[in-house]
């Protein structure tokens, strides 16, 4: 605001403070969430400034095009039409606003409300400020407005012809016929209208009435859509707008009524599409907003709309929810969407907190078994080791193809326990595509432990026996050569270790003989490894 300069009377100063606080509060509402603490501060200031300004009696603000004045004294000036409170009021025909000293806080908020909406730059509103202020039905604020206002033209000329759109379009000659049959005329007299009937008509201004009206329109449109008279996209668009409106009001009842109305329609793409569109995170947020802290039980009204919300909405809210009771509620809502929303739940598993992911992982296994394998695979990407191990273990028993490509990066995971579990899993269910990664893991810059090398060796033998035999041969050949000279390196030792373990699991009939051959020329530990491997091989039913 560009406040006029120069000395002002005490009354003018107080009035300027009031208008400035009004403007700041209105603008803050455009910038911040209304529940923000800053908005609260601005409201405190607005109330305080209003009290000060009204100490001297009623405050009459005269509205000029870019100025507000009190008893002829300018207390506000802003020439930017978009920012100016004065301009908005003047343009919409408001000429004077008089606030009485005993104005209740609710009416001061009522004065701020339309200003906030109009200054927020929300496009599409069709009511002007004068109408909004008139409809507020203030008792202690008087708003004087002119309806016939039009900006002055410097040099008027006759009205220019309007553009296209004024093409003559006629009503059909028989419009609005046949006329309904009326009874014979009866006598008429002036009679007062019953006050209760008048009150009933006035009630049509409330938000509930609007929602009710909209539901009636929705019912009519759905019926017409079923007859083919209205296209499904037209209906869907209107219902989407209606959903946004009732959600903006936090009104769950009308939303539930709308959902029930749609659900009664014959099955088909329109019904299913609209029902899907009716639910989003705002539905759940509105349902949760009704719950006191620590309560995880939905109200009866909320329970009618929560089935509309998809699992994704529950999981979105879960990310920011700190209340344990609500967290449990959100998890149960997400789990309740299985198996329908299984793909969405599975996709979210890696990003969920470990405990939440475990709950939903198990829920998927129980209620959406077809998605169990992908859930296991999703767990592999979770940062929690225990969950990743659980995922690997579950994959061993899961139906369907093993997600080998998602497992291979885990061969380079920092945790040996996990690497070994993955190698074991690949040994049991892997395919030849895993062979290069397994071999590379043996050759990794940071050499594996003997335990891990053995697991890798076994996996190599299982996923590609032919290539494994050749590789093991190379690893063992090299050792033979080295035996001629000095002692072998740690890496060579681990290769041999892996090769021996691999031969132990190799399907070739001569694998046992090959191990015995290695044992014959090996030193103490390798020899013992050969013996243990042979024993295991026999135990596992290999011959030879």
């Amino acid at each position: 605001m560009a406040a006029p300069r120069g000395p002002r009377s005490a009354r003018g100063e107080a009035a300027a403070g009031f208008v400035a606080a009004l403007g700041k509060a209105a603008r803050a509402l455009a910038l911040y969430d209304p529940s923000n603490s800053l908005v609260r501060q601005f409201l405190v200031e607005y109330r305080s400034r209003a009290s000060s300004a009204l100490l001297g009696g009623p405050l009459a603000l005269d509205v000029q095009p870019f100025e507000l004045t009190v008893a002829g004294e300018a207390i506000y000036r802003e020439e930017d039409r978009e920012r100016s409170i004065a301009f908005r009021l003047f343009r919409d025909g408001v000429r004077r606003i008089t606030v009485e000293p005993d104005v209740p806080w609710g009416e001061l908020v009522g004065l701020l409300e339309p200003l906030a909406v109009h200054l927020a730059g929300i496009e599409g509103g069709e009511r002007d400020l004068a109408t909004d202020l008139a409809d507020a039905r203030f008792t202690r604020i008087d708003v004087q407005a002119v309806a016939g206002f039009a900006p002055e033209e410097d040099d008027p000329e006759p009205t220019a012809p309007r553009g296209p759109g004024a093409e003559p379009s006629r009503l059909p000659a028989d419009f609005d016929t046949p006329f309904p049959l009326l009874p014979a005329p009866g006598p008429i007299a002036w009679r007062p209208l019953p006050p209760e009937a008048i009150a009933g008509l006035a009630a049509l201004d409330g938000p509930q009435a609007v929602a009710g009206d909209a539901l009636r329109i929705a019912a009519a449109l759905l019926a017409e859509a079923e007859r083919g008279a209205v296209s499904p996209p037209e209906v869907a668009r209107f219902l989407g707008e209606l959903r946004d409106f009732v959600l903006a009001d936090g009104a769950l009842g009308p939303l539930a009524a709308l959902a029930e109305l749609v659900a009664r329609q014959p099955a088909g793409p329109l019904r299913d599409g609209v029902l899907r569109a009716l639910g989003d995170r705002r539905v759940l947020a509105a349902a949760l907003a009704e719950l006191p802290p620590g309560v995880g039980e939905l109200t009866a009204e909320a329970a009618r709309v929560v089935p509309l919300a998809p699992a994704a909405a529950a999981l979105d809210l879960l990310a920011d929810e700190g209340d344990p009771a609500r967290r449990r509620l959100l998890l149960s809502i997400a789990a309740g969407r299985l198996p329908g929303d299984a793909a969405e739940v599975v996709a979210r598993l890696p990003a969920l907190a470990a405990g939440d992911a475990r709950v939903l992982f198990r829920a998927v296994g129980a209620h959406a078994p077809a998605h169990a394998a992908s859930a296991c695979a999703a767990l592999l990407e979770h940062p929690d080791l225990a969950l990743r191990l659980e995922g690997v273990q579950a994959l061993a028993g899961a139906e369907g193809e093993l997600p080998v490509a998602r497992l291979l990066p885990l061969l380079a995971a920092p945790e040996e326990e996990l690497r070994i579990a993955v190698a074991d899993l690949l040994a049991r269910r892997g395919d030849d595509t895993a062979f290069p990664a397994l071999a590379a893991a043996v050759e990794a810059p940071a050499p594996p432990s003997r335990l891990e090398a053995a697991a890798l060796g076994r996996a190599l033998a299982q996923v590609h026996p032919a290539r494994a035999a050749e590789l093991f041969g190379r690893w063992l050949e090299r050792r033979r050569g080295l035996l001629l000279g000095r002692s072998s390196s740690r890496r060579d030792e681990l290769r041999r270790w892996a090769a021996v373990a691999g031969l132990g699991a190799h399907p070739a009939a001569d694998a046992g003989a090959r191990i015995e051959e290695v044992a014959a020329s090996a030193d103490g530990e390798l020899r013992r490894h050969c013996a243990a491997t042979l024993a295991r091989r026999r135990q596992e039913g290999f011959h030879g």
């Binding site: 109330r47 095009p65 599409g124 509103g125 002007d128 002055e152 009326l182 005329p185």
Partner: protein, 447 residues
């Protein structure tokens, strides 16, 4: 929850409701495209100073500008660009003019006594070049804006409307407030009904704010003004019908105590209530009466966003032929008022030569509770009077005349003003008899 938190919640709901009524991001898009349009338009105007109109230098920028205008109109409807000194507003949103574009636009338009342009339809590149050439041409010495408008119409640029140079006067009394004349308001309403109908016929959305302003002016004049009850002389047939229905609907709505906002909703709905005939007649095959209410609502649904006003309007249009005792449910209050207003208008239009207006009203009153809401039909009776406006009456001195307005008050409900007719021609004279002062009606006549 303390009163501040309650206030925050209330304000939050109000903003959320308003946002639900708005098309998301529309303002941002208008501002962004508006800036590009302004820059391009001023660029073309500058080019016209150094190049002949047929120079190829215009081709690329004109084509680009045509594309920007087309996208603006597709997203926001008619585009109104107004220059106010260095500031430029596109559909009331201030755009940031680059390199003194605002001054440049104002400077180019001012010699034509023009402050802005409204583009009602997209223009192709060639049309934009003709527009720029017209603006670059020397202004006419007298009435330059009218001359420019005539030139544009001749150049097939009638979709471009020229806006005068406006300023906001110092307020009440000194300027700005238009002295409202009932006949001028009536003409404005006819034009609005015509324009609304035309917009819908052309596939555009209506401008409900303009309709509301017109209705607001009508309410300011007061629906009791006798001039409002003369049959409208101008406008298309549909517009005259719409305005007649609007005036009667507002009379009933006012009697029924509707708020100013609800009355505006009612009036705006009344002005376009029969627009569904546009679709019904386009589809052919008859059945207009059955279909037009639904089709009218579908047309009104094209307006973007969701607001209480839109919903009231939609339901009123959808249900304006529904009976009070319809087994499927009663119409909304606004729909019920429209029904009564329209049926009264139609009854006079179709049977006025055979029955008196008082008889028409008496028949409708007896249908209260079945076809009509009994309270609202009584509001109609109270509002129109024992001798409704337009009634042909014979007064006790033997002269005939027409009742010139609705009931002035409960006390004068049966004693209207009567404009005496010339016996030989039936034309109205300047002689008006106030039956509140003298005389009485001997009998009502059809016609």
């Amino acid at each position: 929850m303390d009163d501040l938190a309650e206030a925050q919640a209330r304000l939050g709901r109000a903003l959320a409701r308003a946002r639900a009524g708005a098309e998301r991001g529309l303002g941002e898009r208008v501002r962004e495209a508006g800036e590009r349009f302004l820059q391009g338009f001023v660029g073309l105007l500058r080019l016209s100073r150094v190049h002949a109109a047929d120079n190829r230098a215009f081709e690329a920028p004109a084509a680009e500008l045509a594309a920007v205008l087309s996208s603006l109109i597709a997203g926001a409807g008619p585009v109104r660009m107004v220059a106010v000194e260095e500031q430029v507003y596109v559909n009331d949103l201030r755009v940031r003019p680059a390199a003194r574009s605002g001054h440049a636009l104002a400077g180019e338009l001012k010699p034509h006594n023009t402050g802005g342009l409204t583009f009602h339809a997209p223009l192709d590149a060639a049309s934009l070049r003709r527009l720029v050439a017209a603006l670059a041409a020397p202004p006419a010495p007298v009435r330059p804006r009218s001359s420019l408008a005539a030139r544009l119409a001749g150049e097939r640029l009638g979709s471009v409307e020229l806006v005068g140079i406006h300023r906001y006067g110092p307020g009440e009394g000194a300027g700005g407030a238009v002295a409202l004349e009932p006949t001028a308001v009536l003409e404005e309403l006819l034009a609005l009904a015509d324009a609304g109908w035309g917009d819908l016929a052309a596939g555009r959305v209506i401008d409900p704010a303009a309709l509301r302003r017109g209705v607001s002016r009508l309410l300011e004049v007061g629906v009791g003004a006798p001039a409002l009850w003369a049959r409208p002389a101008g406008g298309q047939g549909h517009a005259a019908h719409a305005v007649e229905v609007t005036v009667i609907a507002l009379l009933v709505g006012g009697s029924a105590g509707l708020s100013p906002g609800a009355l505006q909703d009612l009036g705006a709905a009344a002005l376009i209530h029969d627009a569904g005939y546009l679709l019904a007649s386009a589809a052919g095959g008859g059945g207009g009466l059955a279909r037009h209410a639904l089709d009218g609502a579908r047309l009104a649904m094209r307006q973007r966003g969701f607001s209480a006003a839109k919903v009231r309007r939609l339901r009123a249009i959808l249900e304006h032929h529904r009976d009070h005792a319809d087994p499927a449910g009663r119409p909304s209050a606004l729909g019920a008022i429209l029904r009564i207003a329209e049926d009264y208008t139609n009854l006079i239009r179709l049977y006025g030569a055979k029955v008196t207006r008082a008889e028409a009203l008496g028949a409708m009153a007896r249908a209260g509770g079945t076809l009509y809401d009994p309270v609202l039909v009584q509001a109609l009776v109270n509002g129109l009077g024992l001798h409704p406006p337009g009634s042909l009456v014979e007064i006790d001195d033997g002269r005939t005349g027409r009742v010139v307005g609705p009931a002035r008050s409960p006390d004068l409900w049966d004693r209207p003003l009567v404009r005496i007719l010339e016996p030989s021609t039936g034309r109205p004279t300047d002689d008006t008899v106030d039956l509140a002062v003298r005389g009485r009606i001997w009998r009502n006549l059809p016609g």
